[in-house]
Symmetry: C2
Subunit: 219 residues, 2 copies
Amino acid sequence: MTAATQPEAAGDPNSHRARKRARTWTAIHLAAAEAAATHDRLADVTIEAVAEKAEISPRTFFNYFRSKEDAVLGLRGAVIDRDVAAGFVVEPGGDLVEKVAFLLLAVFRTSNHRQISQQHYVELMDRHPELARKRFQHVDDVEALVTKLVTDKLAESEHWRATHAEHSAEDTARMIVTVAAAVMRMAMRPILAHPGQTEADADAILHRTFALFREVTHS
Amino acid sequence: MTAATQPEAAGDPNSHRARKRARTWTAIHLAAAEAAATHDRLADVTIEAVAEKAEISPRTFFNYFRSKEDAVLGLRGAVIDRDVAAGFVVEPGGDLVEKVAFLLLAVFRTSNHRQISQQHYVELMDRHPELARKRFQHVDDVEALVTKLVTDKLAESEHWRATHAEHSAEDTARMIVTVAAAVMRMAMRPILAHPGQTEADADAILHRTFALFREVTHS
DNA sequence: TTACTAACGTGCAAATTTGCAATACTGTAA
DNA sequence: TTACAGTATTGCAAATTTGCACGTTAGTAA
């Protein structure tokens, strides 16, 4: 889980409570991002200062974010969107690994709720390498989620069961997701490097990364 | 780096100094391992207690190990053995990814200097999941090291340069190592699961894991 | 409205982790 | 031996992070 204890996720997203939580979340995130932008070393940005600017107690900071870095980046717990999950199907034809990589990318995108511009965002990661590291770590969390989804989908797929008796659905899913995540992680580098990017650009980069992947593996 | 500030690595490994450091290192490691074995939650094992048993100050603990977990497992900074590095050659024929996976395994092995039995070791990881997590993280450190080696080897390989003009040596190396590490990580699970294992057993598991990998990717 | 429950915010205490500076120790070369 | 340089060990202080317990507030059902 990337997100912190995250006050019970809330039921009704329009309740007074949920809106207040969202406001507090954004306040902390923006306070952290600004502080990160105005200090040379991230170590000089203290939780205490961020909490004060967001008008909460330091203890409460950790109810919203696991760490300073998460707060700066605006990362929250990864969740697979209902539609995205439904759109992922195991069927004959098509590269499953590639499909999963795009699934990962989609989940990764929805787990980032930053309120700052991509430009600003990239500058921050540029200035503070710790941030980039955290962002990569975040992929691990997403991986676990997606592995579960893929395991289920494989298990309920007639087509797959008919053709792959030797390995368990879970082992296969783990392998697919691990490899897909590896490729995704590689693609992230150039994706993040270019500020003004559309999702299509990112997709293109991921496709190109896959070309390298195939070249390396299908030798 | 998995290892801590690790008092300057030492020049002469037979000096009074180096031997004393080794003794201290082992003392801390064993103290931590024993403490981990006798507590239900790793959180109840305090650095203070471990340091006391090893007869050093808590501050010194961190000169030897980055964390409690590293101390329990006996992990130290990954280094590529001279011979292992020399034995790795880029040449026509043979699966480079697979070769790198075994290289990773080799480096991984030499970076673990635990003084407790494999049996005991596995039991500890079984009891404390945090330990297993740390051990996996350690692969990241090894990855960085190996990526550098592979980059250099690719760059100086006539054969490779002749056949792969489109991608830089570094990009290619990164991809190869990332994928190999993914497969290795997968293989680690069953490798660790069976206590009384020879290196040959582990190799066999890695080979079998590769079979699954190929099945998944060469679809 | 009232009363109940779950969620939230907070203070406090303990543990982890790092930087810095002071002190002690080891190996070496004069 | 003595002096010197480089390492090691340590204490101290600050920041991060988590668990626990307490009081407050928001949603809900009677």
